[in-house]
Every structure is written in structure tokens, then in C-alpha cells.
């Protein structure tokens, strides 16, 4: 399929969704729009120099703050989950072969930046769990030889200080940039009015019944500190292996191998076929194992 072909490249999950007339990529794009719009509203009240007080004010001190915060949270979760499924769909069906390396890397980049948006949003709560997650992230980035210290300051600022750096990256690096990259990947500015409206309505409906509870300040946080659900597995691994291993596994294993799939030669019978199968199956297996570790850690260790 050429780069100018207007038909989207679909995998088995997308084919399963076909009766609804949408693809996972469109759902992710629509969720991104809902997240950005609700984030603009939250930004009117949020102050990164007083993150916890801001979060508490949004949660209980301003009209409908809890609803907008819940919609922002849910929109972000849906964005990353749909994007992850979209990526898995392409890897599973090997439809990345039909994309140009540039298009594939753009998808990988949006997924990575989307994870960055989720994680930086989690840190912006400024509560005990968020501060612990920030500290761990700083330690994880510091292991990068030569520039780790600088990178950690660039992205996370000081461990106990205001969250201006995190806020800036949440707004621009992890929200505006992925939108621009998503435009380049999907060759459209947004998912479309109908799908965005439907996703926004669904998120609002769920936000009415589910909203993240008030944050606990660092000194009052009780029990084990897990951080966001998608890092529970990493937290568990950190009980047993050095942080440098987890950083390398995340960057090289998860992102590097995924990106490398976009460079697999298209010709049948090419000698890359065997490494391709190893990388493709290895990546899917690694993801499955990671999700099992997340679940097992949550069940085995609980929150006490």
C-alpha cells in the first residue's frame, strides 16, 4: 500500500471493530482531543508551584472540577489503551510491513509520548504516590551515562520542588507534539466530529460515576506505593533487579525492538524473516509477560 492510499491499514482488532465504522487509531485520536480540551479547562485552575493544593482545589473546591478531572484522566487512559491496542494489532498481524518506516516510527513515537503524557499527568497530582513516582523516575533517568542527571532535571525538575518542568512537558512535549505526530501518521487533523463527539459523550458518562479520589499528601500516604497501573510491573521488577536494567529493558526492549519492526524488508524470502519473527513474537510475549507481572504483583502484594 502506498503512502498516499487513503484507506487505513487495519489489523484483526480493527476488522472486529468494522461494524462500528471506527478504527482503534480513530478512537485514540478522539480520546486525545477530549484529553487536550479537558486539560485546557483544568489548566485554568492548576498551579504547578502548588501541585497538591491545586489538585485538591480542582477535586473539591471548584464547580465540576471533579468531573473535568475525571474526564481528563479517563480520556488519557483511553488514548493510551487504544493506542497500545492499535500498536499490538499492527504487530500481531504484521501489517507494519505495509507502512513506511517513517509512518511506523511516528506510531511508535506517539505511543511513547502518550505514555509520557499519562505519567507526567500522574506526577502533576503532587501527592505522596506521585512524589514517590517522580523520585523513582529521576533515579531511572539518572542511570543514562553522561547526561542522566541533566535529563532528569530537564524532564522532572527537583524531587521535592515545584512541578514546572513536568507541567511544561505535559502540555507541550507529551500533548502538542503527539498530536502533531499523529496528524503526520494518520494524515488527518483529528478523528472527525462524530467519533470525537461519541467518545467525549462516553467519557463524560463514565466520569459521572468514576472519578479518582482526593490525593493524599506525601506524609500521609499509607500502604505500599505503586504509582500508575501501567508501571506496577516495573515497580515489581525494581524489587529484584537494578534500576538500570529496567531502564534499558524499557527503552531498548520495548521501544527499540518495536521501532526496528518498521525496517523489516518487504521482499518475501529475505534473510531478515527469521529475526523479524523473533522480534515480533518476542515483543508480543514481552508485553504479555509484563501485563501478567503487573496483575500478579497487584494481587500478591495488594496495597498494604
Amino acid at each position: 500500500m502506498s503512502r498516499t492510499d487513503p484507506a487505513p491499514i487495519v489489523g484483526p482488532l480493527d476488522r472486529w471493530l468494522r461494524p462500528t465504522g471506527v478504527t482503534l487509531g480513530q478512537v485514540a485520536f478522539a480520546a486525545l482531543a477530549v484529553t487536550v480540551i479537558s486539560g485546557i479547562v483544568l489548566g485554568l485552575v492548576y498551579d504547578p508551584s502548588e501541585p497538591l493544593a491545586s489538585t485538591e482545589a480542582i477535586q473539591g473546591g471548584v464547580a465540576y472540577g471533579f468531573l473535568v478531572r475525571a474526564a481528563h484522566n479517563l480520556g488519557g487512559q483511553l488514548f493510551v489503551v487504544a493506542l497500545l491496542l492499535h500498536t499490538v494489532d499492527h504487530v500481531f498481524s504484521r501489517s507494519y510491513r505495509e507502512l513506511s518506516p517513517g509512518d511506523w516510527w511516528r506510531l511508535v513515537l506517539v505511543a511513547v509520548l502518550g505514555m509520557g503524557a499519562m505519567f507526567s499527568g500522574f506526577l502533576l497530582r503532587g501527592d505522596g504516590e506521585a512524589r514517590a513516582a517522580q523520585t523513582i523516575a529521576i533515579s531511572a533517568v539518572r542511570v543514562v551515562p553522561g547526561v542522566g542527571e541533566d535529563l532528569s532535571r530537564m524532564f522532572f525538575g527537583d524531587a521535592d520542588g515545584p512541578l514546572h518542568a513536568v507541567y511544561l512537558h505535559h502540555l507541550v512535549t507529551f500533548s502538542l507534539v503527539p498530536w502533531l505526530v499523529a496528524i503526520a501518521h494518520a494524515r488527518r487533523v483529528w478523528a472527525g466530529f462524530v467519533i470525537t463527539a461519541v467518545v467525549a459523550a462516553a467519557i463524560t458518562a463514565v466520569a459521572l460515576v468514576y472519578h479518582p479520589g482526593p490525593a493524599l499528601p506525601p506524609g500521609m500516604a499509607r500502604g505500599a506505593l505503586w504509582g500508575p497501573w501501567y508501571f506496577i510491573g516495573a515497580q515489581e521488577l525494581l524489587h529484584h533487579v537494578p534500576v538500570a536494567w529496567v531502564t534499558v529493558a524499557g527503552v531498548v526492549g520495548a521501544v527499540g525492538l518495536l521501532g526496528a519492526l518498521g525496517h523489516v524488508p518487504r521482499e518475501p524470502g529475505h534473510r531478515w524473516r527469521i529475526p523479524e519473527a523473533v522480534v515480533q513474537r518476542g515483543w508480543l510475549l514481552g508485553l504479555a509477560v509484563y501485563l501478567v507481572v503487573c496483575l500478579a504483583a497487584y494481587v500478591a502484594r495488594g496495597t498494604a
Partner: protein, 148 residues
């Protein structure tokens, strides 16, 4: 004219490819230059080297029971000396808490345990909690000095 196209095509293709490679190289060089500038900027930005925690306690008011401050523990040690320990776990920096009995210090992130002196009892942390310097200010109250 149509006859000329095949003979021009390889040359123009080569030229296009060369220009594209030069543009890519130039772009990477430019991005690298900006990354270097950004790193230098961040490295030269001032940062808080030390913090003073004003405890509001006179030395006589500090007993065996562990008092918890946002960055430090404060208590009287076996030799009656005032002990201040950094609360940051030596594994990955999470804030350690005192157990309910006050005999152990526990990390809520990865389960490291320390004794009252900050010595590691269970991993993944292998290094002891840092001892912090204390002083008495002009009001006669203990100040803990936290250094990065």
C-alpha cells in the same frame, strides 16, 4: 522530450537522494546542537544545594521516639546524642516511614527495611540511610541540614 526522461531520471534520482541525505545529516547536526545547548542550560541553572529544616524543638524535648519531618527523622540515639536521618531511601529515593513500633524504618516503594540507626536490614537497598548534620539556632531550637 519523452525520450530524454529515462536518461535524466537516474541522475536526478541520485541528486535528490544526495540532497535528502545532506538535509537529514544537517537536520541531525542542528538537533544535536540544540540538544547540547539545552543540556548546558539545564546544567548551569541554579539548584537548591541544601535545605534547613526548622524543627521548632529544643534539644531537651527530643526523646527516643522518632519524630518524622518531611525530609528527615529526628530522635535521640543510644548514646543520648541527637540523631537526624535522611528519609530518602538509598535504593531509589522514596520517602521512608517509621514502623508503628518505631523500631524499624520502611520504604513503601520497594520494601527496603532499616534499623533505627539507618542500617539496611532487608533489600533492595544496600546502603544505610544518610546521617544529617544538626545545629541549634539562635532561639535554641534544633535545625536539620539536608544536603543533596
Amino acid at each position: 522530450m519523452a525520450h530524454d526522461e529515462p536518461t535524466d531520471a537516474p541522475e536526478s534520482g541520485w541528486r535528490r537522494e544526495t540532497i535528502a541525505r545532506l538535509a537529514l545529516g544537517g537536520g541531525l547536526l542542528f538537533a544535536g546542537g540544540w540538544a547540547y545547548l539545552a543540556l548546558r542550560l539545564v546544567r548551569s541553572a541554579p539548584r537548591q544545594a541544601s535545605r534547613a529544616i526548622r524543627t521548632g524543638l529544643r534539644p531537651g524535648a527530643i526523646g527516643r521516639a522518632i519524630r518524622t519531618f518531611p525530609m528527615a527523622f529526628l530522635f535521640r540515639g543510644r548514646g543520648r546524642e541527637v540523631v537526624a536521618l535522611d528519609r530518602r531511601c538509598t535504593h531509589l529515593g522514596c520517602r521512608v516511614r517509621a514502623s508503628s513500633g518505631g523500631d524499624q524504618l520502611l520504604c513503601p516503594c520497594h520494601g527496603s527495611r532499616f534499623d533505627r540507626q539507618g542500617k539496611p536490614l532487608r533489600g533492595p537497598a544496600t546502603r544505610p540511610l544518610r546521617r544529617l548534620r544538626t545545629s541549634v539556632d539562635s532561639r535554641g531550637e534544633v535545625v536539620i541540614h539536608v544536603e543533596d
